[in-house]
């Protein structure tokens, strides 16, 4: 790894390695002492080893194990290769799979179509620098610093049928005690379908602020003269935003898109803390975890689900790498 290390021209100036600087580097390279080369090798080598050893190696392991049957007990010699059997069972004999898959898609759709645009809207409004912007911004951003596990608890404080805010509020407004009485109270987290929607509301509470901050940073970098020019040309606010500002935000859009997709696929804490992903709250991440934690693990089966999750996430990851690093590769 340390074979060809030389000081490089920062891309900020050169935008990547040009053939001429390449030659210059090779000359420089000989100037680096052996010790420097060793230092550089270790500076990259140790962290890279840790990263590859704990992430990429297990990822490959997931792929291999997905074609096997193993209950996780005994040595590796107990592993049996069974071809695509795990995938067949997953698709046809495993009732929790499709609902979980569907939930992941709904989660993604809700975040992309509702939470993210809302975050963007808040960013645009707050970018106008009205009075009190800092306060609004702080309030909207506050949930982002909480873990989704805490968000899960706070959601329970809001949703609990007898003790929660919503139902008690309904009693106070309507004067009718039925809203918190057993049997007639709406069970926000116990009713399948409804409970997933309520989880999305709670998770969205956090996601909106996240998206807002990313866009606020992006909007700040938009050159004001562009807007002024648009204003002079007689464009209204909406036209200015969609025709002038939004295109400039393209890099942010990539980040937000990828963050949204990845967060949707990673979602775990909130449903696990509410009911371990049972009763309509299943997600792929929870099903995989349940197949490892538990008295008897289905290692191959869990791995097959992990591979499905990998296949879904690989697209956005490649897209992101291409968009952010593609230019440097040229």
């Amino acid at each position: 790894m340390s074979s060809s290390s030389v000081p490089s021209a920062p891309p900020a100036a050169a935008g990547g390695a040009s053939p001429s600087t390449g030659r210059k580097r090779r000359k420089r390279f000989s100037l680096l002492t052996r010790r420097d080369k060793l230092t550089l090798g270790l500076m990259v080598g140790i962290p890279a080893f840790i990263h590859i050893f704990l992430i990429w190696m297990p990822m490959l392991g997931s792929i291999v194990l997905s074609f096997t049957s193993w209950n996780g007990i005994g040595g590796l010699d107990k592993i049996k290769f069974i071809g695509f059997k795990n995938y067949e069972n997953l698709f046809s004999n495993y009732p929790p799979f499709w609902p979980a898959f569907e939930n992941n898609l709904i989660w993604l759709a809700a975040f992309l179509l509702i939470a993210t645009p809302l975050g963007m809207l808040m960013a645009v409004i707050l970018d106008q620098n009205l009075k009190g912007t800092r306060i609004y911004q702080s309030v909207l951003y506050m949930p982002v610093v909480l873990s989704l596990a805490i968000v899960g608890f706070i959601a329970q404080l809001m949703y609990s049928p007898n003790m929660g805010f919503i139902n008690n509020f309904l009693v106070a407004v309507t004067g009718d005690p039925k809203w918190t009485a057993s049997g007639t109270a709406i069970d926000w987290l116990g009713t399948p379908g409804l409970n997933f929607a309520m989880v999305l509301v709670a998770a969205g509470w956090r996601h909106v602020g996240y998206v807002m901050v990313l866009y606020l940073a992006g909007l700040k970098s938009v050159d004001n003269t562009l807007r002024e020019a648009a204003a002079i040309d007689g464009a209204n606010a909406r036209q200015t935003f969609f025709r002038v500002v939004f295109p400039v935000l393209a890099p942010i859009n990539v980040v937000v898109l990828v963050v949204t997709i990845i967060e949707s696929l990673r979602a775990f804490d909130i449903v696990y803390i509410i009911n371990k992903g049972l009763n309509g709250l299943g997600l792929l991440s929870v099903l995989i975890t349940n197949n490892i934690l538990g008295e008897a693990s289905l290692i191959g089966f869990g791995s097959a689900m992990a591979v499905i999750l990998l296949l879904i996430s690989i697209g956005p990851i490649i897209y992101y790498l291409a968009r952010t690093m593609g230019r440097e590769a040229e």
């Binding site: 290390s5 000081p7 490089s8 920062p10 390695a17 002492t33 230092t39 140790i46 962290p47 890279a48 990263h51 704990l54 990429w56 297990p58 997931s62 194990l65 808040m122 707050l126 106008q128 620098n129 009205l130 702080s138 506050m142 949930p143 610093v145 909480l146 873990s147 596990a149 805490i150 608890f153 706070i154 329970q156 404080l157 003790m163 805010f165 008690n168 009693v171 509470w205 602020g209 901050v213 940073a217 700040k220 004001n224 002024e228 204003a231 980040v255 990828v258 990673r266 804490d269 803390i273 991440s285 197949n291 490892i292 934690l293 290692i299 791995s303 992990a306 990851i317 952010t324 440097e328």
Partner: protein, 302 residues
């Protein structure tokens, strides 16, 4: 990308003549902010009241009156063993933060200031690794943790599983990706002349890194430290997966083991949740600038 973006929203929009009062916008913002604040506000309100005044057949939760005190906080603090779990959190967060920032800055310097044959490929590997959903790797990782040996005092059972050391390592592996990405972008913006000057002075690679480049990256490191603190503090999943002994759980993962009264007493639950949320809220309000900078450092780069 700037090192320390000015607080978001500080730029004055020059809209010139068409400045209208924003009554509608303000009304909208106030309503949204109230809705956003409601869950936390409700948690605070609930936590200050004794269960006896709100639960069962008493006033009910949506009411005013009765006692207001911090008893729920005291009870949650003691019943959930929070001091012990906060200690575990510190034992994870502090080493993890130091290692992540040290290693990530080394890789970032090597990849951005020196030319490796594979530096772009490596950077992509780190970044992609950071974006993988954790569940993609956990099946083999779990077996790996059961098999890998480790000596005392880093491990009291001889392996990586059920050890805070193991938690630190997995945070390190994952977060290296993000921090390397952010820091290498940062270092690329530092003029190359600095390296060359150090080189001419005969400084070694290590000295250049340690005494020249690292100090220059202080703002980025501060931003990342703030952000990573929050992320690692908030981690729930790795603790659940890779720990077993109840006493070892960091505070966020320990929430999963709350039992007994916490199930039936929302006031206690509210107090417990707030205590656990408090450190990140404090960090956020105290270091808001760094926090937002950290998030946007990684993203505004096009």
């Amino acid at each position: 990308m700037t090192a320390t973006p000015a607080p978001v929203g500080s730029r004055q929009v020059v809209t010139g003549k068409r400045q209208r009062p924003h009554y509608f916008t303000h009304a909208f913002l106030i309503v949204v902010s109230l809705i956003w604040f409601l869950p936390l506000g409700w948690a605070v309100y609930t936590s200050l009241r004794p269960y006896g005044d709100t639960g069962g057949n008493a006033r009910g939760y949506f009411s005013i009156g009765g006692a207001y005190n911090f008893n729920n906080f005291v009870n949650a603090w003691n019943q959930a063993d929070l001091p012990l779990h906060f200690l575990q959190t510190i034992l994870v967060v502090v080493p993890a933060l130091i290692l992540i920032l040290a290693f990530a800055s080394m890789v970032a310097v090597a990849l951005s200031r020196y030319s490796f044959r594979f530096n772009l490929a490596l950077l992509m590997l780190f970044t992609a690794g950071n974006l993988l959903p954790q569940q993609v790797v956990i099946v083999p990782l779990f077996r790996l943790y059961l098999a890998l040996p480790m000596f005392a005092p880093l491990s009291d059972n001889g392996i990586w599983y059920d050890q805070l050391f193991g938690i630190v390592m997995i945070h390190l592996a994952f977060q290296l990706g993000f921090c390397t990405f952010v820091l290498s972008n940062y270092f690329k913006q530092i003029p190359k002349e600095i390296n060359e000057a150090a080189f001419v002075d005969g400084a070694s690679v290590w000295r250049t890194y340690r005494s020249v480049l690292l100090p220059l990256a202080r703002p980025a490191l501060a931003a990342l430290a703030t952000l990573e603190f929050t992320w690692i503090y908030n981690d729930f999943f790795w603790g659940i997966l890779l720990l077993r002994t109840g006493d070892k759980f960091p505070v966020t993962s320990a929430l999963n083991n709350l039992s007994g009264q916490f199930f039936t007493d929302n006031n206690l639950l509210a107090a417990g949740s707030l205590i656990v949320a408090l450190p990140t809220l404090i960090v956020y309000f105290a270091l808001q600038k760094h926090f937002v900078a950290g998030l946007t450092l990684g993203s505004t780069k096009g």
